[in-house]
Amino acid sequence: QAFPLPSLPRKQPTVLVVCGPAQNGAIGLVCARHLRSFVGQRDPRVGLGAWPMVGCPGDPHPLPTVCVPPPQVQLINDAYNAVVDAVLGAEAEGGEGGGPCAAILDALKHVRIPIVSLDVPSGWDVDAGSSGGISPDVLVSLAAPKRCARRFLGRQHFVAGRFLPYDVQKKFELNPPPYPGTECVVALRAPR
C-alpha cells in the first residue's frame, strides 16, 4: 500500500528484506514471500534480495549466511527501491547492537532509499525510541503500536492487528481504529 508497483522508481520492483535472527526476521521472511507473490508469476523483472542473518549477537559460532551482499550503502541505494527492516523487534533489548547486526544497522542509517520497519525500527529502544538510530519512512506496527512509535517521524504508520480477538483488545485498552473492508492493515494519521 505504501509503495504500489507503478510508483517504484526503478525498472525492476526490487526490495531488500533484511532479516534478523529472531521473530522479527521470521516475519520478514513471510513478508518477502508475499511480496514476491504480489508481482505475479514468472515475472523476469523481479529481483528480491533476502539477507537472512544467522548467528547474530552473542552467538559464539555464527553460521554462514546465505546471499550475502556486503552492507555497502551505495550498493543498496543503487540496486533496490526500498528496504524492509526486519532485523530486531520488540523483544530485543535496547542497545543490542553487537556483531553483524551493528554493521547492517549502521549501513541502514545511511541508505537514501525508503526503509519500512516491522514493528520497531531496529536498534530503537522499544519504549524510549532512539535518537541517532535508523529513520524509517514507513512503520508497520504489529498487533498494536509500541511506545517508541511516538518518536516515529516517517511518512506512513500502519497497524497490522486485525487478528487480535476483542477481549485481548479490551483487556489491554488498545482501541484500534476500524479496519476498512477486509483489509488487514489500517493507516494511522500521519504524524506530521
Binding site: 500500500q1 504500489p4 507473490s37 504480489f38 505475479g40 508469476q41 514468472r42 486485525r162 487478528f163 480477538p165 476483542y166 477481549d167 473492508g181 477486509t182
Partner: protein
C-alpha cells in the same frame, strides 16, 4: 483429485509449509470472498448471521478459520461442528472461535425452514477435495437438509457430497464456490452465481510444474473472482 493431492503434498514436503499456515490463508480467502459477494448490508436478516457447517477433516478446519475472519469482518457466524478431530490444530481453531464469542450449536437445525429463518448464508465446509466414497452420518442428513434450504450456500473448495471430478447433479447446488489453490474438475459442473479462487500461496514454480494457468490475482487481494 490426484493432482490436487500431489500439489498439497509438495507444498508440505518440498516447500515446507505447515498445515496451519495454508489453512489460515485458505480460511481467510473464503471469508474475504464471502465478504465481497455477500456484504453485510445485503442480508435480509436483521443481523448478518451465517451458519458455518464444519466437517471432520481439513475442509472443516478451513471453515473454522473462515468463521473467525467473518466475525472480524462484522458478520455473526454460528458454527456446527459435530465430528471434531482430537488434534491440536483443530482444538486450537475451535478455542479461537469460542473465545471470539462464536457460538457452537449443540445440534443441527431440524428443518430447512429454520435455517432459512435464522441465517442469511450457509458456509459448507463439510467435505473437501480428498472426499471419496459414501457419506457417513450425521453428514448425510445434514446434506439432505441443506439441499432444501433457500438461503445461499457458499461451498469451500468442493460442494460437499459431490464427486471431486464428476460433480453430482442431484446434490447440493451452492450459490458460491471458493476454489482453493486451483479449481477442481468438479467446478465445471458448478452452476451458481459466484466462483472465486482463493489460497494465494502457490509458488510460481509449482504453478508452472502443474500447468495450473491461473489468472493473475488483482494487486494484493487474496481472492480472485472467476465468475
Amino acid at each position: 483429485q490426484e493432482e490436487a493431492q500431489a500439489i498439497d503434498q509438495e507444498l508440505f514436503t518440498e516447500y515446507k509449509f505447515s498445515v496451519d499456515q495454508l489453512m489460515e490463508l485458505a480460511g481467510l480467502s473464503c471469508a474475504t470472498a464471502i465478504a465481497k459477494a455477500y456484504p453485510p448490508s445485503s442480508f435480509t436478516t436483521s443481523q448478518p448471521t451465517v451458519l458455518v457447517v464444519c466437517g471432520p477433516g481439513n475442509n472443516g478446519g478451513d471453515g473454522l478459520v473462515c468463521a473467525r475472519h467473518l466475525k472480524m469482518f462484522g458478520y455473526e457466524p454460528t458454527v456446527y461442528y459435530p465430528k471434531r478431530p482430537s488434534k491440536p490444530l483443530f482444538e486450537g481453531l475451535t478455542t479461537q472461535c469460542q473465545k471470539m464469542d462464536i457460538p457452537f450449536l449443540p445440534e443441527f437445525p431440524a428443518e430447512a425452514a429454520l435455517i432459512d429463518e435464522l441465517y442469511g448464508l450457509v458456509v459448507d465446509a463439510i467435505f473437501g477435495f480428498s472426499f471419496k466414497g459414501a457419506v457417513r452420518e450425521p453428514f448425510g442428513s445434514i446434506l439432505s437438509t441443506l439441499e432444501r434450504i433457500t438461503v445461499p450456500i457458499a461451498s469451500i473448495d468442493i460442494p460437499s457430497g459431490w464427486d471431486v471430478e464428476k460433480g453430482k447433479a442431484d446434490g447440493l447446488q451452492p450459490d458460491m464456490l471458493i476454489s482453493l489453490t486451483a479449481p477442481k474438475k468438479a467446478a465445471t459442473h458448478f452452476t451458481g452465481r459466484y466462483h472465486f479462487l482463493g489460497g494465494r500461496f502457490v509458488p510460481p514454480a509449482l504453478q508452472e510444474k502443474y500447468a495450473l494457468n491461473l489468472p493473475p490475482y488483482p494487486k494484493t487481494d487474496c481472492v480472485l473472482q472467476l465468475t
